[in-house]
């Protein structure tokens, strides 16, 4: 059973890393600020969610999982707010 859990956690972690890589690729390759923000925040948020899920499963502790979910929520709020502020500044130019 624990082997299955480890495999699931591993898949989630790798998938999360993949999304982060995709977001960074978007950052480097997209032509302007708004599209870069779009790629970065969407991919990174999903990537972080997958990472948190994988780590929560791997930790095997409900307390640690709860803390990880809280971190994910805070990070989500922060990145949303910052993306909004950056986009607003960009549009004002």
């Amino acid at each position: 059973m624990s082997v299955v859990l480890d495999v699931v956690a591993g898949i989630l972690l790798v998938a999360g890393t993949g999304f982060f890589a995709a977001g960074t690729l978007g950052l480097l390759r997209f032509p302007d600020t708004l599209s870069r923000l779009h790629a970065l925040t969407k991919a990174d948020n999903l990537g972080l969610g997958l990472l948190v899920a994988g780590l929560a499963i791997h930790s095997g502790s409900a307390w640690i999982a709860a803390k990880l979910v809280l971190i994910w929520f805070v990070s989500l709020s922060v990145s949303t707010t910052i993306c909004h502020l950056l986009a607003r500044e960009e549009v004002r130019e």
């Binding site: 809280l70 805070v74 709020s77 922060v78 949303t80 707010t81 909004h84 502020l85 607003r88």
Partner: protein, 304 residues
């Protein structure tokens, strides 16, 4: 975890970022690179088994310092920044010599000396806390911590003096400034306060403590002011400065009490040492939080 390749990557990244940010003619970009540098440095602290420093670096070293430098980069006049002075070749030589000297000293060091760790471990029982770094900061070397709070206060006072006539940035009006930022400020406030309390309490037995909790509080104050939910001039000026001074005051109390009860300056009576340290840590966290926020927000204060 025993992967030297990762360390080479982190270390190489640090050197590359530093080299890149110091020669960047665009100062705003240099400031942003500096924030990234700070975050990568926090990762290096984790690799070096220093989680307390990692927390503080991310919040204070990258966060607050980054805000200060970024704010300055945007506000200062911006002619094209010139390249390094050509007459500075001796400076480059001196810097290279310093680097080589340090590197040579490192390579020549004998391996594996235990340092002061055994001494700390043996005296830990008397301090009332279980975490080595907290014990060093608040029991063994509490004088250093006291002086550091004093330095923070002096910087704050100096800023108040220097920036007295600085033209204010557009002051943030009431909450209507940006709805998402206001939402964020409202949502994050209880999380930050609870998180700060939790980290402070945790610091007695695990990585954490007053500095990290103070950094969280300071970041919260900065967010609240920037989102318009709190005004830097709203409160009577004495209140904020008084609260910022509470950390230093706590140390004075501790010093005097210690001297009277135990006969030695800054000595905590062993029975209540643990509780006394937590009380002092709360005072320090308040001081550091308000102090850091004051340092970052000072340029925005309206002149008298």
């Amino acid at each position: 975890m025993i992967d030297p390749g990762l360390d080479v990557l982190v270390g190489g990244g640090l050197v590359w970022l530093a080299w890149s940010l110091l020669r960047d003619p665009d100062l705003v970009r240099a400031a942003m690179t500096f924030i990234v540098f700070g975050l990568l440095l926090a990762l290096a602290w984790v690799r070096l088994d220093a989680p307390d420093i990692a927390l503080a670096e991310a919040a204070i070293g990258a966060g607050v310092t980054g805000v200060i430098v970024l704010d300055a980069a945007r506000s200062l006049p911006r002619p094209p920044v010139r390249a390094a002075w050509p007459a500075a070749a001796p400076a480059a030589a001196l810097a290279a010599l310093a680097g080589v000297g340090v590197a040579g000293a490192i390579v020549a060091m004998p391996d594996g000396s235990p340092g002061l760790a055994p001494l700390v471990a043996s005296e830990l029982g008397e301090t009332g806390v279980d975490h080595g770094v907290t014990a060093v900061l608040l029991a063994f070397r509490s004088l250093d911590t006291w002086m550091e709070i004093a330095v923070l206060l002096f910087a704050l006072i100096a800023l108040g003096t220097l920036l007295r006539t600085w033209a204010p940035l557009p002051s943030v009006p009431r909450e209507g400034q940006d709805p998402l930022l206001s939402w964020f400020g409202r949502v994050i406030a209880p999380v930050a306060v609870l998180g700060a309390g939790f980290v402070l309490w945790l610091g007695t037995s695990e990585p954490g403590g007053a500095f990290q909790a103070g950094a969280l509080l300071g970041a919260l104050v900065i967010v609240l002011v920037l989102s318009g939910l709190a005004s830097p001039t709203g409160l009577p000026p004495g209140v904020l400065r008084g609260l910022a001074g509470v950390g230093a005051a706590a140390f004075v109390v501790l010093a005097v009490v210690g001297a009277l009860v135990e006969g030695r300056f800054l000595r905590t009576p062993p029975g209540i040492a643990g509780e006394a340290i937590v009380v002092v840590e709360v005072a320090i966290a308040l001081s550091i939080g308000l102090g850091l926020a004051g340092l970052a927000l000072a340029p925005r204060r309206k002149p008298r």
